[in-house]
Amino acid sequence: MGVKVVTDSTADLPPEVARELGVVVIPLRVNFGEEVYRDGVDLDADGFFRKLKESPFLPKTSQPSAGELAEVYSRLAQETDEILSLHVSAKLSGTYASALLGKQALEKACRIEVIDSLQVSMGLGLIVIAAARAAQRGADLEEVKKVANQAIPKTQLFGVLDTLEYLEKGGRIGKAQAFLGSLLKVKPIIACRDGEAHPLERVRTFRKALERMREIVSQFQDIEEIAVLHSNTPEEAEAFARSLSPLLPPEGIYRARFGPVLGTYVGPGALGVALRQRLS
């Protein structure tokens, strides 16, 4: 009977990792004009960035409905009576709200805990992984929930973007708004903090940005997990992952990709890193 861990496609979990841990990923939607795609199901990262270049429409995203969440819970309730549903920051998406409603709508006697991760992408992903591992070890819902809540303050997400225009047009710029309007061509480094985008620093070149991000990451102690993500620059991402090797063996670093939903907001040319410190 173990605890089932549910999350959404904004987590950018590598498919094999989700499979191995038995995590259920609920897709958000991305639409280009009238065409609607389920994130990670009907459209993958390659397909998305290709469409981004070709489509006359700017992509838009939408959360899964409460009904969809309820359906998933309902299905899972046949196998288990404990579900942990971990989702993208409520400040960035209405998915958390849908999950809360979905939980309410469920009639089966199944314990469901819904948590706002205050994170996104592999920031959310690393928290999900920690919870799922605990579930695999046989922890009960209370325990798994505790692990998830402990992981939240120990998880960081940073990224360098080629441009802030997608974040701005998508309405997710948050506090990173302070970086808008620069007359110099600079690369912004932003973080996900308090559930929204925060400005960190700006540098002149992508190369400098990677150097800075490495420095920022190395300032954290007792790092247990790292994930590196990119929109469409696999070589740079790989080199960056290797540059983090003093902190973790390169094989231990997750390689992930910004999926269609994240791509809608970070745009092409983005590179990110998520880390989780040891839980006390």
Binding site: A178, G181, H198, R204
Partner: protein, 537 residues
């Protein structure tokens, strides 16, 4: 004469300032490098004007009160390195004259001695062969005289003045850069002229009435986000260079006084530079054309400039950086916009060869919303005034010792929104050394020791002369080459006011062709004097 009053003291300084004013352009030209932005003369002049304005305000005219008022005026009005040292000199003077209604020869000697010690104390790394040497040696001569029988105040001042002149002449022997450049120290020369003017006044050779002092613009309204701070919005900002023969600066100034405000007239018989704010630029220009040939005429509608800037600001209004505000000194319309767009809270105009005064910097610091302020002077000559403002401010102010625009930009970019104030100050200071600064301009005079002929294009890298040539583009390439090819490096070109868009585009294209693996960007800076300022990372 045996003893002097506060009124005499005021008169002496007024006459000294007038003499300095008439030589301000020459002093500006005493630049170690033949670059057009020399401003020691203007800085000292403006500092002294602030000094005298303060002295005029008080009703009690004892020597003590007048000296104190002058020190206060200088403290706030100090501009540039030389201005700040002058303010320290006046501070020492005022301290020695405290409580005195009148002063005699011995008092003057002692006051000059204290002026010297205070000046030295105010500089973290005193350099000989500068204004410091001159005040020290002049004070020593004054004290030697006062110890003899002829301790009359006039004799004491004369001894100080003669020694000052000789001390200035010796400065090249103490400071190699002066010798190489074939000039004496500008600050020292200014100090000598101040003493000489005072002496002439005491001797009755000069009538103070012949030197009307022109008030600069009145104090400004709130500074925040507005660059046109110290000039009221008043008509047209009119500037020109007048070339002719037998030009009479005094007469010109007198005539222009009736036409507007913020009058600045400096020069000599052959060349006079004029700056004024007037509702009728035509009248000023007609008057000038009747005297000679006009060059470099510039007429700007100040209201337009102001409105344009406010509109741009409203669009780019930076959100407060947490609880920290950043104040930067910038000169150049484009550069102002760049700094504003990167999150600078308030800009203090560097002005055309006019460094901001301590008071202007202080007002900017007080005007920004936060209690924690970072100050970027972007010029080594502004650093002393910045530190002075920091000492006087009631807020927590950190001065980042940025010496150039590229350094200022690097520091600004290094600001981390997630870090503490202290961590940011450290990061911003560290960022200064991560960028090299290139500057391209034209030599305003020859420099024999370096094979520079007047009019040639010259390039500086981090303050060192590295290339000389006929064309700007040529020395620019040499400069970039000298820093070695670095793959993936970022180069930013800030285009000056005297470069046409066509030339700028051409230059950018050529640079990109020459260095295809480097990231080269071009931004309109609009800065005066330097055709190109280059940031090389």
């Amino acid at each position: 004469m045996l003893s002097l009053s506060g009124e005499d003291l005021e008169g002496m300084f007024t006459a000294g300032t007038a003499l300095l004013e008439s030589h301000a352009a020459e002093i500006n030209a005493l630049n170690v490098f033949p670059v057009p932005d020399g401003d020691a003369g203007t800085n000292m002049l403006l500092t002294l004007r602030a000094t005298l304005e303060e002295a005029r305000r008080i009703s009690e005219k004892s020597a003590s009160a007048v000296a104190k008022a002058m020190a206060q005026g200088a403290l706030m009005g100090a501009r540039g390195n030389s201005g700040v040292i002058l303010s320290q000199i006046l501070r020492g003077l005022a301290h020695a004259l405290e409580g005195k209604d009148c002063f005699k020869g011995e008092d003057l000697a002692r006051a000059l001695g204290e002026a010297s010690t205070t000046a030295y104390k105010g500089v973290s790394r005193p350099v000989e062969g500068t204004i410091l040497t001159v005040i020290r040696e002049a004070a020593a001569a004054a004290q030697a005289k006062a110890a003899t029988d002829s301790k009359d105040v006039l004799d004491v001042l004369e001894a100080a003045t003669i020694e000052a002149r000789e001390s200035v002449a010796r400065t090249p022997s103490l400071l190699p850069v002066l010798r190489e450049a074939g000039v004496v120290d500008a600050g020292g020369q200014g100090l000598y002229l101040l003493l000489q003017g005072a002496l002439s006044y005491l001797k009755g050779e000069v009538d103070e009435k012949g030197y009307p002092l022109l008030a600069l613009a009145a104090p400004t309204p709130a500074l925040t986000l507005t660059p046109q701070v110290q000039e009221p919005i008043y008509g047209y900002c009119t500037e020109f260079l007048l070339e002719g023969e037998g030009l009479n600066v005094e007469a010109m100034r007198g005539k222009l006084l009736g036409m507007g405000e913020s009058i600045l007239v400096v020069g000599d018989e052959a060349k006079v530079r004029v700056h004024l704010h007037t509702l009728e630029p035509g009248a000023a220009l007609s008057y000038a054309t009747s005297l000679g040939t006009l060059r470099q005429v510039k007429v700007d509608n100040m209201e337009d400039q102001h409105q344009e800037f406010l509109a741009a600001q409203a669009k780019m209004a930076p959100t407060p950086l947490g609880d920290v505000s950043i104040v930067a000194v910038v000169s150049g319309e484009g550069l102002s916009k760049v700094f504003a767009s990167l999150g600078t809270t308030a800009l203090v105009p560097g002005g055309r060869s006019m460094n901001p005064s301590v008071e202007e910097l202080l007002r900017a610091v007080e005007a920004v919303p936060s209690q924690k302020v970072v100050l970027l002077p972007n010029n080594p000559n502004i650093l002393p005034a910045a530190r002075q403002a920091q000492a006087l401010a009631r807020k927590e102010v950190a001065v980042i010792a940025s010496e150039t625009i590229p350094q200022g930009v690097s520091a600004l970019l290094a600001f981390n929104y997630g870090a503490s104030f202290e961590a940011n100050v450290e990061a911003m200071n560290e960022a200064l050394s991560t960028v090299h600064t290139g500057e391209i301009t034209r030599a305003v005079r020859s420099m024999k020791g370096r094979g520079v002929k007047k009019g040639q294009a010259i390039a500086f890298l981090d303050g060192e002369l590295v290339a000389v040539g006929k064309e700007r583009a040529q020395v620019l390439y040499e400069l970039v080459d000298k820093t070695g090819p670095k793959e993936g490096r970022a180069i930013t070109l800030y285009i000056g006011a005297d470069v046409s868009p066509a030339e700028a585009q051409e230059t950018l294209k050529s640079l990109r062709q020459r260095y295809p693996d480097q990231d080269i960007e071009m931004v309109y800076g609009g800065q005066p004097h330097y055709s190109y300022i280059i940031a090389l990372e």
